[in-house]
Symmetry: C2
Subunit: 410 residues, 2 copies
């Protein structure tokens, strides 16, 4: 038997049925019309936003990184709940605008922006987080040609990284941003060239659960922003401190102590260097805001035994939830939290089973040798932590199955 990660504390059951946003999983499937179905609970997102607002100084803005989950109805809610969107492609610029986020609160980072994407962003008035000197030249030239002053910030590859980070984005040689030792000079040049100077974007890593690591990184980031601003000879209107707040996926993981991080950030900002006195700060979160809100519901199609091992075969799989299959940036496959949605919290979880997807590939394993209540065809498997990097980050066309359904509940 192998362990699984913790079920997020937001979910409970009623008469053996998993509730999501107060509704039973089976009724939600009836309402949607079919499985597989992603359900996103707006209450969880609201709770996360409220927790952030309570913990972090009011002067710090909250940005949503829409790549975590670009589902339209969810984006429209996030427009109201957050202070800005961070996007990573021309397509995401369009999604952010369509959801109702004003252009001046959208910033666009990404190492391979094409000319057509730069043009789209400049025309719309979206801020570009520049990733290289070459991109800066192209943005300025396109702005000139369009007769439009581009809103420009510099994305910095910091000379430190986020300890315990699942995805290191800074420290050492990186394709992201401009090395810290050249960023100040680039900023100075941009200002001289007449761009609307927007400041710095400094993203050191993502998905850490270690509050001390976040505190240390935020402190270093504020210090670096001040140093670069001195070099640039201008105060930055905005400093995006990056994100990095992780969520617990696996056995032994513990949620980030956001209150501790907020208290330390408050102190860091109180003592910030004078050049950052009027600067707005932002924290950019994706996974932490939406990851725990999502549940992937998939129906058991078959129950089979092979050489003494029991498999529950479901109608979903890695084509919808690649990350849960362990095939997306994970070296060793570990089990996401999983449950039988219609036997939630009452039946003892004592049967060792593997949950496999419907794809004809051995990669399609959603849970390996976990303990679940006895289940079979017709029962519903719930895979938690499906709110971020799920539907949009999976190869949905693989093997010609239908795309998943999605639904936002409140």
């Amino acid at each position: 038997m192998k362990p699984m990660g913790p079920i997020p504390p937001f979910f409970s059951g009623e008469d053996g049925m998993l509730l999501i946003g107060g509704c039973g999983a089976a009724s939600l499937i009836d309402e949607a019309g079919d499985t597989p179905l992603f359900v996103y609970d707006l209450n969880v997102m609201k709770a996360q936003v409220a927790r952030f607002r309570a913990a972090v100084p009011a002067s710090v803005s909250l940005h949503y990184a829409i790549k975590a989950n670009p589902y339209g109805p969810l984006l429209r809610q996030m427009v109201r709940l957050t202070d800005g969107f961070d996007v990573a492609s021309g397509g995401e610029v369009e999604m952010a605008l369509a959801a109702g986020m004003p252009a001046e609160r959208i910033s666009f980072a990404g190492p391979g922006k094409r000319d057509d994407e730069l043009k789209l962003a400049i025309m719309a008035g979206v801020t570009l987080n520049l990733e290289s000197e070459g991109e800066a030249d192209r943005a300025l030239a396109i702005g000139d040609k369009l007769g439009k002053r581009p809103r420009l910030a510099v994305r910095v590859n910091p000379d430190f990284d986020l300890r315990g980070s699942g995805m290191r984005m800074g420290g050492g040689s990186k394709p992201f941003g401009i090395d810290a030792d050249r960023a100040g000079t680039l900023a100075r040049n941009l200002i001289q060239e007449g761009a609307q100077w927007r400041g710095f974007h400094i993203f050191a890593g993502s998905q850490t659960l270690d509050a001390e690591a976040l505190i240390e990184t935020q402190r270093a980031t504020v210090g670096l922003a001040a140093r670069l601003s001195e070099e640039a000879g201008a105060a930055p209107p905005l400093v995006n401190l990056g994100g990095g707040f992780g969520i617990p996926y696996f056995p032994g993981d513990r949620a980030v102590d956001v209150e501790k991080v907020g208290a330390a950030l408050s102190e860091t900002l109180e003592n910030r260097p004078p050049i950052l006195k009027d600067t707005e700060f932002a924290i950019e979160l994706g996974r932490w805001l939406v990851g725990e809100s999502g549940v992937y519901l998939t129906r058991i199609v078959d129950r089979k035994v092979s050489q003494g091992e029991t498999y529950l075969v479901v109608d979903g799989g890695l084509h919808h939830q690649l990350a849960a299959s362990g095939n997306f940036g994970m070296v060793i496959r570990r089990n996401y939290p999983v449950a039988i949605a219609n036997k939630f919290g009452i039946d003892p979880a004592e049967e060792p089973v593997s949950v496999v997807g419907c794809l004809c590939t051995p990669l399609d394993r959603l849970a390996e040798k976990v303990a679940l209540p006895e289940a079979g065809p017709g029962d519903i498997v719930a895979i938690f932590l499906a709110g971020a990097y799920g539907a949009s980050a999976s190869p949905s066309a693989f093997l010609g199955h239908k795309p998943p359904l999605e639904m936002l509940v409140e």
Copy 2:
């Protein structure tokens, strides 16, 4: 510097431009209108089919596993080049029929077939490769209800596996097929229930380069098919011997000696047990038929240096070519063969660079520290071995970029 796999022998250059199907890569991009672009060379597929036909006894049919590449124009050609399609979902049943493959030459395997997929296949007259006793019961019940005799075969989880296989599909406990010790009994029951008996599907693994392993597996498969047929008390009209032919991806990889495999299979079939005397045999190939035919062309958007390392940032990435980024069933990231398409074969490859995609994630690496001719914005990167498990097996919606273009050339 890290090594890369071998460029497939089908490709050459002319005046420094990579030719695909006799056309220059840059002209193909002009014709398609943009990058990123997958180009599939029909000549390569024809060469592979011809090689197979010459090497393997004429009594062995060639099936195409369409999950490797379901691009419509390619499927239509494969209808003519091969003897049948193997599909893995209701969606693929529809694609196969739409491409013009007659239903009686389509078989449908997959561990999680839903009732609606079983119904579709039975109505169309497609053969079902049954994966469990439960699925057999459902198929018979649906056939009864529809008043249609289903065409049924049994997929077997063999009691051996394919040595050196990239994807083990047999040997030990598996979610695929029915354990060999129960398959004969199930077949007997199906025949008694009045199904159209189609035979056995025995797939022990995929992507091996080892001819001896394939020979041994094919020999064991024929032996197992005979034993199961005796248990079932009926000769199987068809035995699908599986596939397993790999292609060279990485340094040191060598192409399968198909002629050796064919000669040995010829001998195995000549000496086959009497119960298989009138049986048709099939080999099911996907990757081997189409993998080497494909080239993914993506344009360099930026060239940047971070702490002394040079990055070529392209407009494609893992959202189109997940496998090349090392995030799909690969434990250690290794480099696919890659080239600068417009500096092919003439410029010395002596600059160490990493090729990264345009996605804002450190996972998006298409080539790590390889030697390429000096290149920059506007130049075209070619990533080979993009004909199988590329466009359709990648998270194309991730980060909101456009889907790739695809093109078949001859």
